[in-house]
């Protein structure tokens, strides 16, 4: 019986008087992958931030791991892995130092080994000792994904994970996401258009602040297979 990891109830968010999210109601269960499709400025990133407790809803609630996102406690935060448009990486530290730092921050053991392992899983092994400020956008994105997934979270919030990635990288990341979902992680991905990970996904579309479920087969004008 799949457990509910994320549930939003009439979640509304306004910036000033401008509505960004309106009465959003979604559910994400563990071991499931959800995809949220929307254009720029449609509120995808805002929704993810609210789920992570980094932003507060104007009204309504987001329940994550059974807690209200407004009061997400330490235990809950530990189980979240997040990717945003900002990389959350320190430009003057090397890739390995960055990941080792986050590993230590999250209380994981063998930080250096763990960092190395994840750096290699996104094929950045050759640049492990280079400073992040020298990385290309795609490399930074891959490293940031590694950072998010390294802590083996139970909830993955990935904002446009495939943006700025070349097809090889796309395949790698797709693999990592599939693996995480297979071990029981709940994942919420956002994207500009439909994508196919080779696994069953709960698809939603966000427009004008409202989130509507999408049927899988019916509307897929731009579909890209992500190397299943």
């Amino acid at each position: 019986m799949a457990r509910l990891v994320v549930e939003t109830r009439a979640l509304t968010k306004t910036f000033g008087v401008t509505p960004v999210l309106r009465e959003v109601g979604i559910q994400i269960h563990d071991g499931r992958c959800a995809l949220l499709i929307g254009g720029n400025g449609s509120g995808k990133s805002t929704l993810l931030r609210i789920l992570a407790g980094l932003s507060q809803p104007t009204s309504g609630d987001a329940i994550v791991f059974g807690e209200n996102s407004r009061n997400l406690n330490v235990a809950g935060r530990r189980r979240i892995g997040m990717l945003t448009h900002q990389s959350w990486l320190y430009p003057n530290l090397t890739a390995r130092e960055n990941l080792a730092f986050y590993a230590e921050l999250y209380g994981l053991a063998d930080q250096n080994d763990l960092a190395t392992k994840w750096i290699e899983s996104v094929r950045l092994g050759a640049s492990a000792n280079d400073r992040v400020r020298e990385f290309s956008r795609g490399m930074e994105q891959r490293l940031s994904i590694a950072r998010a997934m390294m802590t083996e979270p139970d909830l993955l919030l990935l904002d446009e994970p495939f943006a700025a990635l070349d097809p090889d990288a796309v395949a790698i990341v797709g693999d990592l996401i599939r693996t995480a979902v297979a071990r029981g992680c709940a994942a919420l991905l956002t994207a500009h258009s439909q994508l196919d990970l080779g696994i069953e996904m709960d698809r939603y579309q966000i427009a004008s602040g409202r989130v509507m479920p999408l049927r899988d087969e019916t509307r897929a004008p731009h579909r890209s297979r992500m190397g299943a």
Binding site: V17, D61, N68
Partner: protein, 256 residues
Amino acid sequence: MKIETYPPTPSPEVEGEKNRNMKNKATAGLGWSTLISMLVSLFMVFEWVPTEEDQGIVQRIFYFHVPCAWVAFAAFGIVAIAGVFYLWLKDQIWDDLGYAAAEIGMVFCTLVLITGSIWAKPIWGTWWTWDSRLTTTFILWLLYGGYLMLRAMADDTPEVARFGAVIGIVAALDVPVVILSVRLWRTIHPAVLVTRAGEHGLEDPRMVITLLVSLAAFTVLFGWLLMLRFQQLRTRSRLFTIRREVALIEAAAQDY
């Protein structure tokens, strides 16, 4: 297992007639009380109370100077307490109260410094002196200024009320340390002063009564001004909530 949820967006308060009337009555009541108590106080200060021997007529400013100081410090306390409630209860009404108190308090703090200056000139021959009370009040004035500058410069960030609350609390708790350090500073190097008719210098009981009446009058004045400003800020907050509600409804109308 009960999951803690928050109440839905409060619908814009359609103020009942009754509520509005009560508020207007309270404000009016404060206004009239201010007028009467001020008139009484003015009479007492200028006509009734005897002139102090050492300092002459100028000493009467003391009956305005001290109450202003009391209000300035009390208002600051209100800013801090409102800040605590805002951080705890997250209700905008506490921020409106704190901000109003800061604005009004700043006015009275400025008056303390001005009246202090006017008093200092004839008595000590100088417009300003770094005695412990004036120095502390000046620092309070700077703290007020910082709070108001923050509100002005952060008015476009959604967290402005939260920042204000934190600064209000921090500043209010700093004040005792300020008082302590300034007092110590001044006992080591006392400024050349004549003892002011403050603590023990009120020989005539009429002076004490006049001071108390003046304190009461200024407190009521402060209450009235605070109420007026607070109501303004409340209206602004309510207007914001209404506009937000309208925007949400308009967006919903577009769905169809």
